[in-house]
């Protein structure tokens, strides 16, 4: 495996194309049952259940969001408090320096802002985006077809395997780009 790993970031392999999500799911289950881990699944839209079949863990994004949102909230309040109580307290219409009720709207907005941006950031991070030097493995994938990429196996075995699990079409992918 170690070797495979080290090799695998050179993204070569054999691509099997499927026509509908049902067969794709079956195929994935078969691959897993054969103890194969080094394969990747592609689809034009999110296919329900695929992550289970593939055995992927839950995304970490929610935690990131939580952390940053609460940061935005607390810092948001502190900033307002600091400017209007500590740095330059001014008597504004007889209101107390720390008119915290008036600070709530901005606190809320900053919470959402921080949370939202963090979420997007986390998405980019975990999905390794942006990465424009990658090109589509097959143009039809983003249209209406589904695909499995098997890497770290010699091409013949891989293509045989894929055809046996029902791929309509099998192609070798030559590694390009800096991975």
């Amino acid at each position: 495996m170690e070797k495979a790993m080290s090799r695998s970031h050179k993204e070569g392999g054999v691509l099997g194309l499927f026509d509908d999500p049902v067969r794709l799911l079956e195929a994935v289950r078969k691959l897993r049952s054969r103890g194969l881990t080094e394969f990747e699944v592609f689809s034009p839209y999110a296919v329900e259940g695929i992550e289970k079949a593939q055995g992927l863990k839950r995304s970490l994004i929610p935690f990131v969001t939580l952390v940053f949102a609460s940061l935005g909230c607390t810092l948001g309040f502190y900033f307002q408090y600091w400017t209007s109580v500590i740095d330059w307290p001014l008597n504004v219409g007889g209101k107390p320096y720390n008119s915290w009720p008036a600070f709530v709207p901005v606190m809320f907005e900053l919470t959402v802002l921080a949370g939202g941006l963090a979420t997007f950031g986390a998405l980019l991070l975990f999905a390794r985006l942006p990465n424009t030097s990658r090109s589509a493995l097959d143009p039809s994938i983003t249209r209406d077809r589904f695909a499995i990429l098997v890497s770290g196996m010699n091409p013949e075995d891989a293509s045989n395997l894929l055809t046996t699990i029902g791929a309509r079409e099998v192609r070798a992918i030559v590694p390009r780009g800096w991975f």
């Binding site: 839209y45 329900e48 695929i50």
Partner: protein
């Protein structure tokens, strides 16, 4: 599921073709006509605005009693329009309303452009915009001065700013997979290059879909309270003040309802046009539109309730000045505006009790237009009639917008449509990846994730 959301037995491939068509071929004549018209309108507005900057706000109809006028009306109006989009995409998404998929992209786009339009007005309505654009933002400066966080205007800056940013992120996140499909369809190298960059190199691997779905869900979750907060904050501009007719606690819900109302009306207007012009009848179906009309009916009655409630509260408060303000609204010098508002917002939508009306394109187009007009006048009534006769009778005045007010208002519509037309020209007007899921399911290809 029982209901058919996509008609005409379209396949995912057809969908791509249909949606991508306007993007890939040279724009039609009608597009050019609309675009030039929008450009002209914006040109006029920009011209007048420039002149206004040179000479001063005196060119407007404002006076010492009516500190705010058409500009603020427009601001509230456009922010209101900007609500439907996020509402449709976020809230309906959370409620798993699958019919949203046909329309959410357009609605979100509209939101963004509406907010961009709205943002113009708070800046240009100030006496010294060249300072306002900086001094309204708390950044370290050589004057060691900060902003006043007690002012609703500062809340506005943050609320609308945040709303714009998050909506943009949300919208873009939704666009990524579709941009990828456009990229993979593209023949022309330039187009391919552009869409490659825009799609950030999306390939639709299941891992990415996993994160993507989570992120999208969270963003939807964040946008929902946000969208409700934005117009509440805008309503604070009035509710927090002491002006009779403004100073009332019903404003936040009242404004939000109004915003959804006007927003949906605008969405209907735009969808009717888009689906006709770009032949997307099978994806934006009458069922979609009927649902929209139902919401129009509901929200229309909400604002109707709000109008009534205002009067009740004024009477119940026993405050003579408050009472006068409301009486003056309905029967004072600006009664005409008030009754236009009531007619358009409360009376007209009632026709949607009838199914035939709900499914009649021409009719719903007309109604949605009237509702937009009515909602504009709602804001006019709130802003102007409350101000022009407030506490001291000695400073009661009358406010008449000038050519500059109207011209710049027209310009804002131009600005909005410029962006919208560019959007339909260069971006997929329908959330393809989501609709594909729906199609797949309707073609009975196993149980599939609900987009």
């Amino acid at each position: 599921m029982a209901e058919i959301l996509i008609t005409g037995g379209k396949s995912a491939a057809d969908l791509d073709a249909d949606v991508a068509r306007p993007v890939e071929r040279f724009p039609t004549r009608i597009w050019w006509v609309c675009f030039l018209a929008a450009l002209a309108a914006f040109g006029l507005g920009a011209l007048l605005a420039t002149d206004m900057f040179q000479r001063g706000l005196g060119v407007l109809g404002l006076n010492i009693t009516n500190g705010w006028g058409v500009f603020i009306v427009n601001f509230v109006f456009w922010v209101g329009i900007g609500h439907a989009g996020t509402l449709i995409s976020a809230i309906l998404y959370l409620f798993r309303q699958r019919w949203r998929t046909g329309i959410n992209r357009t609605a979100e786009a509209m939101t963004i452009f509406a907010v961009m339009t709205a943002l113009l007005f708070p800046v240009i309505h100030t006496g010294r915009p060249w300072y306002a654009i900086f001094w309204l933002i708390p950044y370290p400066n050589e004057r060691s001065l900060w902003v006043n966080f007690r002012s609703p205007l500062i809340w506005d800056v943050f609320a609308v700013g945040t709303y714009f940013t998050i909506s943009l992120v949300f919208w873009f996140t939704g666009l990524i997979p579709d941009l990828a499909s456009l990229r993979d369809r593209a023949k022309h190298p330039v187009r391919k290059a552009v869409y490659t960059v825009l799609s950030l190199g999306w390939r639709g691997s299941s891992r990415n879909w996993l994160h993507y779905e989570t992120a999208y869900l969270i963003l939807a979750g964040l946008s929902t309270p946000l969208v409700l907060s934005v117009h509440s904050v805008v309503s604070f501009d009035f509710a927090v003040s002491s002006v009779p007719g403004w100073h009332t606690t019903i404003f936040p819900p009242y404004f939000v309802a109004g915003a959804i109302f006007s927003g949906f009306a605008m969405v209907v207007t735009l969808l009717v046009i888009t689906r006709e012009v770009f032949g997307l009848k099978d994806y934006i179906t009458l069922d979609h539109l009927e649902k929209m009309n139902k919401i129009l009916l509901a929200t229309g009655m909400m604002v109707g309730y709000a109008y009534a409630c205002e009067f009740f509260i004024a009477w119940y408060s026993g405050n003579p000045i408050e009472r006068f303000a409301l009486t003056n609204r309905a029967f004072g010098p600006y009664a005409w505006a008030y009754w236009i508002m009531v007619a358009c917002n409360v009376a007209v939508p009632q026709i949607f009790w009838f199914k035939r009306a709900r499914r009649n394109l021409a009719l719903m187009f007309l109604v949605s237009l009237l509702v937009n007009i009515g909602m504009w006048f709602e804001r006019f009534v709130i802003v102007v009639t409350s101000l022009h006769r407030d506490f001291l009778p000695s400073s009661w005045r009358y406010y008449v917008p000038t050519f500059y007010d109207w011209g710049i208002t027209l310009g804002s519509f131009g600005w909005f449509f410029i962006w919208f037309l560019l959007f339909v020209r260069f971006l997929p007007v329908i959330a393809m990846s989501e609709v594909k899921a729906v199609i797949a399911e309707e073609n009975g290809e196993g149980h599939v994730a609900v987009a």
